[in-house]
Subunit: 459 residues, 2 copies
Amino acid sequence: MATNTSVKADQDAPAVTEMLARFAVNHPSRGWSDEVDKEAHRTFANWVGCAIGPSTHETVVAALAAVKELSPAGQASLLGRSEKVDIANAALLNGISSHTFDFDDTHLKTIIHPAGPVASAVLSLGEHLDISGRDLIDALVIGIEVSCRVGNAIYPDHYDRGWHITGSTGMLGSAAACARLLKLDPARTQMALGIAASQPIGLREQFGTMTKPFHPGGAAKVGLMSALMAKHGYTASKRALEAPRGLMQVFSNKTDWSEITDRLGETWEIALNTYKPFACGIVIHPGIDGCIQLREQHKLKPGDIKKVTVKVHSLVLELTGKKTPATGLESKFSVYHSCAVGLIYGRAGEHEYTDEVVNSAQVLALRAKVEAIVDNSIDEASSDIHIQTTDGRALHIFVEHAIGSVQRPMSEAQLKAKFVDQSAPVLGEEKSQKAWTVASGIASCSDLKQLITSATKAP
Amino acid sequence: MATNTSVKADQDAPAVTEMLARFAVNHPSRGWSDEVDKEAHRTFANWVGCAIGPSTHETVVAALAAVKELSPAGQASLLGRSEKVDIANAALLNGISSHTFDFDDTHLKTIIHPAGPVASAVLSLGEHLDISGRDLIDALVIGIEVSCRVGNAIYPDHYDRGWHITGSTGMLGSAAACARLLKLDPARTQMALGIAASQPIGLREQFGTMTKPFHPGGAAKVGLMSALMAKHGYTASKRALEAPRGLMQVFSNKTDWSEITDRLGETWEIALNTYKPFACGIVIHPGIDGCIQLREQHKLKPGDIKKVTVKVHSLVLELTGKKTPATGLESKFSVYHSCAVGLIYGRAGEHEYTDEVVNSAQVLALRAKVEAIVDNSIDEASSDIHIQTTDGRALHIFVEHAIGSVQRPMSEAQLKAKFVDQSAPVLGEEKSQKAWTVASGIASCSDLKQLITSATKAP
């Protein structure tokens, strides 16, 4: 027997679907500060590099093979590759690629990876529509604002339930951004958000499998298709987000509407975006950072280390508590592996998360010496690390904010190095340098052709 | 701060993802009774008619226009139409069409409309793979078993939360059926279910808009693509359904695993399928049935009626309580409108749910005289109706089970009449008769060509 008990009936929720739709299409181009526009460029360029890096990975290859079964039209490019597919599946595949190394951006307030769902859709549709770089950045800022504000309103309850919030809010950002590029009116944009609201994507249970990077790609595709459907008059609930049975009340007990309504169009979530220096789950970063700092300060060799004790917030173990990862992908969700490679190699890039490294004797030996202890007096952005050495020393470091955080942002040089590290093995050094230059200044480009040429392989 | 409180951690759930995957690909062809096979044919033929009927409706036209923006390959046919599109979008569009009139089938135990997500995927992929009619029916039975068993395990809590259970379980049935057609092994089929588990579709908030029929179509497409991705080695959690953060625990507090594990492969949910005699929400059917019976027994004319009082379970008003529907689509969710047309016309087919009829003076006048009263002592499958006539008579009928229910199934002749009523205006009488004959005996066809030829328009 169906009853109504589990639905929290906030009948008086503000009309956020309509509000976000109006905002998405009416907010003026570059209607924000220079700092925000700069961060949008960092977001975009970092995302391009993260999509090129894994473009030959088996995850992308498998997804592309499935898409090819549809004999797709060659409408839009795949970053790092030579093929073109239809715009919806180009959004899917670029989105998958950009999250495959778990090396993309993070909106720390919600743990949303904001670029993936939005940039993937904007680039594919934008290439097809022949938009300017300015329009691309505008749509990116707007789309990310929509995803992250919805995320702010429902985090953490929604995430706690088991949803991978990147995919389950990302389709809204993608829909908003695509509606803007398609120049839909507010009413149709509201429908686009509504259609997308019926298609949230992503379970945290999938972490450690290829379906995790599917989530931002799937969200990009869903949002793009929702906008196309709305363009042609497809309808949805006008209150698809806020109604008592709208998306937000259905999938979160927390719905703080003020996170959407307050100062919309005045403050910018993209300004809070951060970029990963390490190719793994963001909550491990303070631990890796601390291990690398101790390694450098004390010239530690793996053989010097007797025991490593990492005190972290419970969320860290909840997300990245894999004690004995067997594959590169699984090791991205292991604080044990990550601290071990930080101590052994002094870095934790994609090369430190391969199947080979995961199963190397040296890594296995040090991993076994890493203990993680839950201490909820420590913030989830921090880490407290003690190392006992074989010669009896007791080393200690407390990392309040890891490198790559809002408080300790990566420099332009560091971001560029990360971009080239990922893209040069795929495209060669010269194209890679060029792609960085174009992507990091995309708003000055009258179209996207230079970007596409430098960031893909010739057919 | 993220905590774990809202996740019900049933760590010991049985391995239902694996179990369903093995079942989906290993169960023998036609491994069920004649009665089950007969019901599968009724399910399929009814679905074909329901997809042909609305094939020129603005809902289908809008969705097709969006799909055409992708320049899709002509891989699979659209029922009732002349176009072909790629298999994923053919599944989407046939699924949308089949639910547009809300006239399709219902698994009453869960209110799932089981054919839409599964048949749409099976027909599109099957046409492309050139399968036999037998294979089509096998995949349909298997896919519906998967969707409905998952539905049984989580209904009603999942539905109460606001999910449109047809779309939020249908992608699993579609994935299972497509995996079977693609002859995936159990391990890859398990991955297909896992990939699909990250993509549940559908909010009840969308009822009364075009996004409601999107749900079965979207689920069909998601399942088909998930199977194609799994075919090419894409991975997902092996416990995507049952893990503490798997789909079922994430979106329902009720998870009765025995509904999946008990007698799997021995009992068949498709045997419980029902077909709608009325083109509206199933919970209104007892009310309409009763109104039509009273009309016929007492030769009632609209002017004879002073007041109509319909006592129903609270769910009926929750789902179909629209007092003043303004459009045909909205009127399908109005017990008031539905009872009024039953009394005026003696039927409630698609023609009684047009914008014109909804706003006709006669309907408005009688609708205003219909009162619906909640009485939870009445089963949701029943209705208790009192009519006061202008000449002082007090008429009464109690309908325990409406026509079209498991207890009072539609006859073959009634099903055929429903099929032809819907399809003849689209395809002409001759093709429509032929399409019924082929669809209702599809397992005897060595391929799907006769079906496609009779159920579509020539290019």
